[in-house]
C-alpha cells in the first residue's frame, strides 16, 4: 500500500507472462498486416510503362469488366497478390480452377502487355489500412519501376463537397499533366475542398517524390457496393480523358460481364431480398 492508501503491485525481476502476451500480440498484428506476396521470383527490378492501381470494389470491377476480362492468358501474367499471411495460405491451398469472377476479390497484381506498352495492374478490392500504405508502395517499387500511373478510386457521394448540385455517380480527375484542358461533360477536374485519401493519396505523394506522372480518377457513387451505373460512369470518365491512349474496351462482352459482376459481389445473404 502506498502513502495515499492505494494498492501498488510489487516489482519483480522475474520475466512475467505479460511479456509473452506482448510478443504474441505483435506476432498477431504482423499476421493481420497485408503485404505483397510475389508468386514469381523477380530478381532484377523490372521497368514497366505504367502502373494502374484500382483501389476499392468499383475500380476493381471497372478494371475487370473493361480490361482484364478481354485479355487472354498470353497477354497477362499473374505476379502476386496483396494479402495477410492467412489469406495467402488459403490462396495457396485453394483450387486454382476457381471461377474468374471470384478472382475479383483477391487483390491480384498482373503484368499486362498491350499495344506495345507494358502495364503493372494492382487490384486492391479490400482496402489497406493506413499503416500498410507505405510498406506496400516500397515493396512494389523494390521490384518494379514505372514511369507513370493511373489511379482509380471511389468514394461515397456524401464525401463530395460542392456549392453546385451534381448528379451521381460522377467521376472527377486530378493529374500532374497540366495539359488536360478539360471541357468534357464526363470528366471534370477535382475541385477544392474535395480531396483524395488512403492508398490513392499515398501513391500520389509517392509519385510526386519520385517525380513520376500520375492521373487519379475518383468516382463518387451513391452506393457503397458495386453499382453498375458507377462502373459505367467510371468507364465514361476515364476513356473520355485518356481518349486515344485508352486501353479499356466497351463491347458486348463488357456489357454481359458488367451484369454478372454486379450480381456476384453484392450481398448474397438472406438478410436482404
Amino acid at each position: 500500500m502506498s502513502l495515499f492508501g492505494e494498492l501498488q503491485f510489487g516489482h519483480s525481476r522475474a520475466v512475467s507472462d505479460d511479456e509473452d502476451d506482448e510478443y504474441s500480440q505483435l506476432e498477431q498484428d504482423q499476421n493481420l498486416k497485408k503485404k505483397i506476396y510475389w508468386l514469381e521470383n523477380i530478381e532484377n527490378k523490372v521497368e514497366v510503362d505504367e502502373l494502374i492501381l484500382a483501389d476499392g470494389p468499383i475500380p476493381c470491377a471497372f478494371l475487370y469488366v473493361y480490361l482484364l476480362n478481354h485479355l487472354g492468358d498470353s497477354d497477362k501474367r499473374l505476379l502476386g497478390l496483396t494479402a495477410t499471411n492467412s489469406e495467402f495460405k488459403v490462396y495457396q491451398n485453394e483450387d486454382k480452377t476457381d471461377s474468374s469472377l471470384n478472382k475479383l476479390r483477391k487483390n491480384f497484381i498482373y503484368q499486362v502487355t498491350l499495344n506495345g506498352k507494358s502495364y503493372l495492374i494492382c487490384e486492391i478490392f479490400t482496402q489497406l489500412k493506413s499503416n500498410e500504405f507505405y510498406d506496400w508502395l516500397d515493396q512494389l517499387w523494390e521490384k518494379f519501376e514505372f514511369k507513370s500511373s493511373i489511379i482509380l478510386s471511389s468514394q461515397n457521394k456524401t464525401s463530395y463537397f460542392s456549392s453546385d448540385s451534381e448528379s451521381f455517380p460522377c467521376v472527377k480527375f486530378l493529374s500532374s499533366n497540366k495539359n488536360f484542358k478539360n471541357t468534357e461533360i464526363h470528366c471534370k477536374r477535382l475541385e477544392e475542398p474535395n480531396f483524395l485519401q488512403d492508398l490513392p493519396a499515398a501513391l500520389i505523394q509517392f509519385c510526386m517524390l519520385k517525380k513520376l506522372e500520375f492521373t487519379a480518377f475518383v468516382c463518387y457513387s451513391p452506393s457503397l457496393n458495386i453499382d453498375i451505373q458507377s462502373v459505367k460512369e467510371t468507364f465514361n470518365g476515364v476513356s473520355c480523358l485518356l481518349k486515344d491512349n485508352s486501353i479499356f474496351t466497351d463491347n458486348d462482352l463488357s456489357k454481359k460481364t458488367l451484369l454478372t459482376v454486379g450480381n456476384l459481389v453484392n450481398s448474397v445473404s438472406s438478410l436482404y431480398m
Binding site: 455517380p169 451513391p222 452506393s223 457503397l224 457496393n225 453499382d227 453498375i228 451505373q229 459505367k232 454481359k256 451484369l259 454478372t260 454486379g262 450480381n263 453484392n266 450481398s267 448474397v268 438472406s270 438478410l271 436482404y272 431480398m273
Partner: protein
C-alpha cells in the same frame, strides 16, 4: 457527439443518419421494377438465387396484401415480413369496419405512416426497406406507389427500387411513353427490358407479376417470359444492325 447512434437526434446539418443508413440497406436488396398502364400494373423483380435444399416458395419478393393490391419490396427480408403482416391485417380490418376494400392510396399511407413512426420512436430503428405497392381501386383506376424508410410515399408511372435502381430508373425515363401507358403488352415488355439492364438474361433470373382489374395477381410463366425476352433480343439486334448501317 455521434449523431448516428440514435435515430431521434438530428445532426447539426439536419441529417437523420439512421434513416439514411436504412436507405443504404434498401440498395443491398435486389432490383424491383413497377410499370403502370391504363388497364394493367406490372411488377418485375430480380430473382434471388435459392440454395439447393431451400424451398423457393418461402423466398418471395412479390406478395399480395389483398385481392386487389400487391407489393414488391427491396431491403431487409425480416422487416418486410413484419410490414406485410401488419398491412394485411389492416386491409381486413378496414373491410370489416367500412365494408369496402381499401384503396391503394390508403394502404400505402398506412405502410408509410408505420415506417415514419419507426424513425421517431425511442429505441427503435427504421424499417430497412422500400416498397412498390400496386393495384386497382374500386373505381377501376390503376395505381403504383413507392414508399421508403423515411416514411415518404409518392405515386409513379414507373419506378425501380433496390440495387442499381438508378440505372433502371434512367432507362424507364427514356422509354416510358404514352403508347406504353395504353398497351398491356408494352407495359410488360418495358418492365422486362428495364430489368434486363441490370439482370442477366433468362427467365430463371426474373419474376414478373401482372395485376389487372377485377382479377387476382397473375405470375407470368417461365415460357412466357422467355418468349418476350427472345422478342426483345431480336429487336435489339435489329436496332444494332440499323445503327451499324447508318455509320456506313
Amino acid at each position: 457527439m455521434s449523431y448516428d447512434t440514435a435515430i431521434t437526434v438530428f445532426s447539426p446539418d439536419g441529417h437523420l443518419f439512421q434513416v439514411e443508413y436504412a436507405q443504404e440497406a434498401v440498395k443491398k436488396g435486389s432490383t424491383a421494377v413497377g410499370v403502370r398502364g391504363k388497364d394493367i400494373v406490372v411488377l418485375g423483380v430480380e430473382k434471388k438465387a435459392v440454395a439447393m435444399l431451400q424451398d423457393d416458395r418461402t423466398v418471395r419478393k412479390i406478395c399480395s396484401l389483398d385481392d386487389h393490391i400487391s407489393m414488391a419490396f427491396a431491403g431487409l427480408t425480416a422487416d418486410a415480413r413484419v410490414l406485410i403482416q401488419k398491412a394485411r391485417v389492416e386491409c381486413q380490418s378496414y373491410k370489416l369496419s367500412v365494408e369496402d376494400p381499401v384503396t391503394v392510396e390508403y394502404i400505402t399511407r398506412f405502410i408509410a405512416s408505420l415506417q415514419q413512426k419507426y424513425t421517431q420512436g425511442r429505441g427503435r430503428r427504421p424499417f430497412g426497406l422500400s416498397a412498390l405497392i400496386v393495384g386497382f381501386d374500386y373505381d377501376g383506376t390503376s395505381h403504383l406507389y413507392q414508399t421508403d424508410p423515411s416514411g415518404t410515399y409518392h405515386e409513379w408511372k414507373a419506378n425501380a427500387i433496390g440495387r442499381n435502381a438508378n440505372s433502371v430508373r434512367e432507362f424507364l425515363e427514356k422509354n416510358y411513353t404514352e403508347e406504353t401507358h395504353n398497351s398491356d403488352a408494352l407495359c410488360v415488355k418495358l418492365c422486362i427490358r428495364a430489368l434486363l439492364e441490370v439482370v442477366q438474361s433468362g427467365a430463371k433470373n426474373v419474376e414478373i407479376a401482372v395485376a389487372r382489374r377485377n382479377r387476382p395477381l397473375e405470375m407470368l410463366k417461365a415460357e412466357e417470359i422467355e418468349a418476350i425476352m427472345a422478342e426483345i433480343e431480336k429487336e435489339n439486334e435489329a436496332e444494332a444492325e440499323k445503327k451499324a448501317q447508318k455509320k456506313l
